[in-house]
């Protein structure tokens, strides 16, 4: 009988080593972007990073933990409003406010999850939407933050970030990049841990996972709360950049859920790489087709349906399964130690 | 020589990548009672499901009443006169006893079987007709399942392990009714793990072992040793 010390779990494969190297080089290049990109490009890339974060978080929630939420906009808006409240009412510097927004969202997410977990499957999805609507309606009642029409961020908050406009924009850009790296990195670390193994089991067959004593409910809580925190921090950053918040923009289903869902579905649900690919495709489409307005959304919906029916693993699943590509070391193989 | 009602030749049936039946052949003549026996996992249920249209063979041919049928879905097979009493009875929980019987007639095939006739056969069901189907005892539920299949007026009745989970006296009560069922010219294929019942009810027997036909012949001419050998593969 072999002792445990003689075996270990290997996560990396040759494919994932290559993929990871490519990614690291990419992140390094992106970090240096203020040196080679113009203002408009920096803004666009920052926006891309926030969507990578949002989509990766939604993917973790729905693709891995099986919690299909149509209400994550609740936390996007919450994060935005917490940032504005802290900055306007208490003079908290923006970066600290982003972190506090994440912490507060985590706390709020606990009772929300307790209520929502009483609903199953599809009803859970709509329930999360109702929660987001409640947040929206409550926000519209908060007069000191502009009520129904919203409020703008005072200039002093922005100028407080850095001395020059260029520096401010760079910092916000790096915050976005950092957040995306943190979120994706955090998800990869989670999936590599034993929680990740449990999540994969839940994704494959929840009943079997439960009967093997995995503490499924606790893991779901963990994922829901962590996702809420990450989403709120991203929301805070998004509205820091937008400089203005209102209940309808903060809690918009279209902007924060529809787009995120389409990105994840088209890119590939249940794989970490999926949201990355999906975000790139989404923004390519948007930059080329944006003039079409609602027709663009219509097409996006149609594409998502077609992908879901005929290529449910999304673009990444379709391509990567055939070519054996991998960007992250997420396999598990038992290896004898030498 | 009269035409066979069901003629299955060299069937290969898979569940995904797993092969459950290897070149299995079976013939059922009109009005005949055939038993298919074998240990757990031998492929008996798989064979019945294939005849019923729930599974489709990857190789081999099935002819029923002169028609080639291997690719037809289950609802089409019922309409042609093949009825399955599924393993584990599988009554509809939301429906009462009577409603379970009535839905058996959904296919609308003409024939001798009706609600009245079925109640004649199993009087206890008439007493309980309005009760939820799952409130009946195991044996009574099995009667409902058989009666439900009969309501479709089949030419071929497939019975999958009707003795499973029932007390011997209840099993006997059910098997005592089989002659009345088969008497109308209906053909029966009975799948059983209970060899004694199977051999007493059927004229011909086929024994499956790990997806292959290990033995077949007239029930009365098979020796116990031969059957054991085929059943267990020793």
């Amino acid at each position: 009988m072999m002792s445990d010390a003689a075996i270990r779990v290997e996560h990396a494969t040759r494919a994932s080593r290559i993929g990871l190297t490519v990614l690291v080089l990419l992140v390094a290049a992106l970090a240096a972007a203020p040196a080679w990109a113009d203002r408009a490009s920096l803004r666009l890339m920052g926006e891309i990073f926030t969507f990578v974060a949002l989509a990766s978080l939604w993917n973790l929630l729905a693709g891995y933990a099986g919690l299909v939420s149509v209400g994550q906009q609740a936390y996007v808006g919450f994060g935005g409003y917490v940032l504005f409240a802290l900055a306007i009412l208490f003079g908290v510097p923006p970066i600290a406010a982003i972190i506090i927004a994440g912490a507060l969202a985590a706390i709020l997410a606990v009772p929300v999850a307790a209520l929502m977990f009483r609903l199953r499957g599809h009803y859970f999805a709509i329930g999360t939407w109702v929660v987001a609507e409640i947040f929206r309606l409550v926000a519209a009642q908060i007069g000191v933050l502009g009520g129904g029409s919203g409020v703008s961020l005072p200039a002093s908050v922005i100028t407080g970030i850095a001395a020059t406009r260029a520096m401010r924009e760079h910092i916000i850009y790096w915050l976005a990049l950092g957040l995306a790296v943190l979120v994706v990195g955090g998800i990869v670390m989670l999936l590599r841990s034993r929680y990740g193994l449990a999540l994969t089991a839940i994704r494959d067959n929840e009943t079997a996972a439960r009967s093997s004593g995995l503490g499924v409910t606790r893991i779901k809580y963990l994922v829901y709360v962590a996702t809420a925190a990450g989403t709120a921090m991203t929301g805070a950053l998004i509205f820091l950049t937008k400089l203005r918040i209102s209940p309808d923009t903060a809690f918009s289903v279209n902007d924060w859920t529809a787009f995120v869902i389409f990105i994840t579905v088209i890119g590939g649900i249940g794989r970490v790489e999926g949201p990355l690919i999906g975000t790139v495709v989404f923004f390519l489409l948007r930059e080329t087709l944006a003039d079409l307005g609602s027709l663009y959304l219509l097409m996006l919906g149609a594409v998502a349906i077609v992908v879901m029916l005929f290529a449910p693993k999304g673009l990444w699943g379709f391509v990567a399964d055939r070519l054996g590509w991998q960007a992250f070391p997420l396999e598990r193989r038992l290896v004898r130690k030498p | 020589m009269p035409d066979a009602l069901l003629q299955a030749d060299a069937l290969d049936v898979f569940y995904g990548d797993f092969q459950a039946l290897f070149g299995v052949s079976l013939t059922v003549m009109p009005g005949e009672v055939v038993a298919v026996i074998g240990a757990n996992g031998a492929g008996k249920s798989t064979l019945l499901k294939t005849f019923a249209g729930q599974l489709h063979p990857r190789a081999g041919a099935i002819r029923f009443a002169g028609e080639t049928v291997g690719t037809l879905p289950a609802f089409a097979m019922v309409r042609r006169g093949v009825a399955l009493v599924p393993e584990g009875r599988r009554l509809f929980p939301s429906l009462s006893v009577e409603e379970n019987l009535l839905i058996g007639a959904q296919a609308g095939r003409p024939g001798p079987w009706s609600l009245a006739r079925v109640f004649d056969l199993f009087p206890v069901l008439e007493e309980r007709r309005r009760q939820p189907s799952m409130s009946l005892s195991g044996g009574q539920q099995q009667m409902v399942a058989i009666a439900r299949a009969l309501m479709s007026n089949p030419h071929l009745l497939l019975c999958d392990e009707i003795s499973l989970g029932l007390a011997p006296i209840v099993v006997k009560e059910i098997y005592d009714r089989l002659p009345a069922i088969a008497g109308e010219g209906l053909s029966l294929v009975i799948v059983e793990q209970d060899i004694v019942q199977a051999l007493s009810a059927a004229r011909r027997v086929t024994c499956l072992q790990e997806g292959r036909v290990a033995l077949e012949g007239e029930a009365k001419s098979l020796t116990r040793e031969a059957v054991s050998a085929a059943y267990f593969g020793v």
């Binding site: 729905a62 299909v68 149509v70 209520l115 009483r118 609903l119 499957g121 599809h122 009803y123 999805a125 709509i126 329930g127 939407w129 109702v130 609507e133 409640i134 309606l137 409550v138 519209a140 009642q141 129904g148 279209n254 529809a258 869902i261 389409f262 579905v265 649900i269 609602s294 027709l295 959304l297 219509l298 996006l300 919906g301 149609a302 998502a304 349906i305 879901m308 029916l309 449910p312 | 019923a52 729930q54 879905p73 289950a74 609802f75 019922v78 309409r79 399955l84 599924p86 599988r90 509809f92 929980p93 939301s94 429906l95 409603e99 009535l102 839905i103 959904q106 296919a107 299949a149 479709s152």
Partner: protein, 287 residues
Amino acid sequence: MQWVNAIVQGVLIGGLYALFAAGLSLIFGVMRLVNIAHGDLIVLASYLALVVVTTLGLDPLTSLVVVVPAMAVIGYALQRLILNRTLGDDLLPPLLVTFGLSVIIQNGLLEWFTADSRKLTAGAIEVQAMQVLPGIWIGFLPLLQFAVTVAIIGGLQLLFYRTAFGRAFRATSDDPAVAQLMGLDTRHVFALAMALSLAVVAVAGVFLAVRTNFDPAIGPARLIYGFEAVIIGGLGSLWGTLAGGVILGVAQAIGAQIDPGWQVLAGHLVFIAILAVRPQGLFPKVQ
């Protein structure tokens, strides 16, 4: 008296919410599918009625003769061609496909009809009302709509529990594989269920169009009200859904009396309270 009148109006609009919910509940009962596009399909029916009224010159209630069959056909095709492919153990495909459908319908309507608010007029009946007690008025139209809702729910109950059709639905819902063994083509049964659901949606859409202003974006709110009515009333019971709708309507009416901005929020809070205290709903179907 103002309060009593508000509650009475709440009860009446609760009937409309129950109608929103009935189609949703039916589909979930038969095939465990929650159609996220449900509210948008109600709005689609409203626009369909608009087209029928403007091109054929019919009044809204007569337009039902066209809108109901049209929506039923759309429902059959939708289920048969698209939604049947999503059914199975995984809940992601139906959820995401119906979500995509919701976006498509909203934006399609936006492209075709613009975001302008519309309304259908039913003529004099819209303003007629009777005073049942001093200070308490019941409008003819809301009363008619409530009566129709009760009739539809009663009809659906009859259909499900007293007809062969309903038996087929219930059997297919219990065990689709064995339902096939009874000679039921489950693809067809599911499509018929969706056709029935959208026929009810058609009535709801026409009622909505006459009752209030509508535009392409109001679908999701109707889905949410229908959903809340189902949860408050209890899963699996159509009469429970009626009760849930009425409770939701009354909650909203009371909220509106306190402060107009609180109307919808009050309904959401009652929903949350039920979820917290009695998650199975007030009148769940006892299995």
